[in-house]
Subunit: 250 residues, 2 copies
């Protein structure tokens, strides 16, 4: 099986492939965090790198799939991936009880497509807010245009949210179920990571802390409302985590 | 109220004092982590520092208590503190079900006195193992001597376990309920912190990771046994955490 991922989906596919007695080939940006690459290879996958700023990842994926005769397992534009990621909201609502607002990190749109589908099915009044990097307005542009739009690959610390566009299935579900998409600057993401380090004692990677960043930076009206937040991913190099959090810590 | 603590108990006392409309004075080693001091002051306590390598903390505490006319709330040699800390083992056993072995971090002996009392009351066959820094053998010496023994203040990264002796009440309970005490070197503690960072995505301070360090470094026979481990404390400066974990990370 072939997949293209900045690292978290890659690890999942690599492990799943091994458990099923097959092998995975993963196309990964060459500047992906070293520990994501190491973990993916540790699960037995073959990693092939590319330059995310100059390569069209959909074209590259199609080309490698044909060359090697491998089926493609898309990281977010796939109904099974979306359904699986929707269980995040299901578990959150089961544990936390009903919410007024749910903030979800948004890269390619897999997590929020699934979570918004689940959340609205359980409570149509629950406001679902997607959060993407300020510098990568792919979901906001798509909602304006009524279809996925390719934006320039953003320079942001949120390496899991640098994909140039959201997926077609993801867009359809986001347009139907998501109430609002906001953008957060890198500074707000670092502040959220630092808050999680200091107060929650939890390690979250930049992309995974973006939803909390929107809440803490006041982009979402939380006054008197029960707010759920996804923390999706903790794959960050120790040295990088250190430099980000040390800089921001008081 | 007056207490002496390297930082975690200090924060608890500071907050409890404020909630009860009174104030706390905390004697703290001058080299305590900056964020422990900041948090303690943030809860409204007055912090007075001392040099842990040259000062007898029991004498200093008695002297300040008399000068200021303050009652002393001991950080570990106190029946209420021990009882409160015993709820850690109670909650762990309620959540995890029965265990074969319980590893508990051991500084002054409050946590292990309470946890061993609870654990043995619930299951007399549960083996309780105390873990202290290799360089600070206060509990091991006390068990040999049959009473608390004062050892030189250790140079160790485990700042919450540098106290020169365990308490009298703690010793009595440890002698009765603890099966074994082992010492772990700083390197093993850093490896445990790094494992927690990379795999559990959790921030644990050196003293709080000492019990896991004993397990991961093979000091306790865990083969085929259900093992519980306390992770007690996450108050570590971002810069210090970073330098420890970055160095050890692969």
């Amino acid at each position: 099986v072939l997949t293209t991922s900045s690292g978290n989906h890659a690890q999942a596919v690599a492990l799943a492939a091994r458990l099923h007695g097959t092998t995975a080939v993963v196309l990964m940006p060459e500047d992906a965090p070293a520990n994501k690459r190491a973990a993916t290879e540790g699960y037995g996958a073959e990693v092939v790198t590319f330059d995310r700023y100059t390569t069209d990842r959909e074209e590259l994926t199609a080309q490698v799939a044909e060359e090697r005769g491998l089926p493609v397992l898309h990281a977010y534009d796939d109904p099974h991936v979306i359904a699986g990621q929707g269980t995040v909201a299901l578990e959150l609502l089961e544990d936390a009880g009903d919410l007024d607002v749910l903030l979800v990190c948004l890269g390619g749109g897999g997590l929020i497509a699934g979570c918004s589908l689940t959340a609205k099915a359980l409570n149509p009044n629950l406001a679902v807010v997607g959060v993407e990097p300020a510098e990568r307005p792919a979901a906001r542009r798509a909602l304006e245009a009524g279809e996925p739009v390719k934006v320039p690959v953003a320079r942001t610390i949120a390496d899991g949210q640098q994909t140039a566009s959201i997926g077609r299935r993801n867009h359809a579900l986001i347009a139907e179920h998501v109430d609002m998409v906001v953008g957060v600057p890198d500074d707000a993401i670092v502040d959220a990571m630092t808050f999680l380090f200091e107060r929650v004692k939890t390690v979250v990677e930049p992309s995974g802390a973006s939803a909390l960043a929107a809440l803490l930076s006041g982009q979402v009206d939380a006054e008197g409302r029960r707010v759920g937040v996804t923390l999706s991913g903790g794959n960050v190099d120790a040295a990088r985590f250190a430099s980000l959090v040390s800089r921001a810590a008081r």
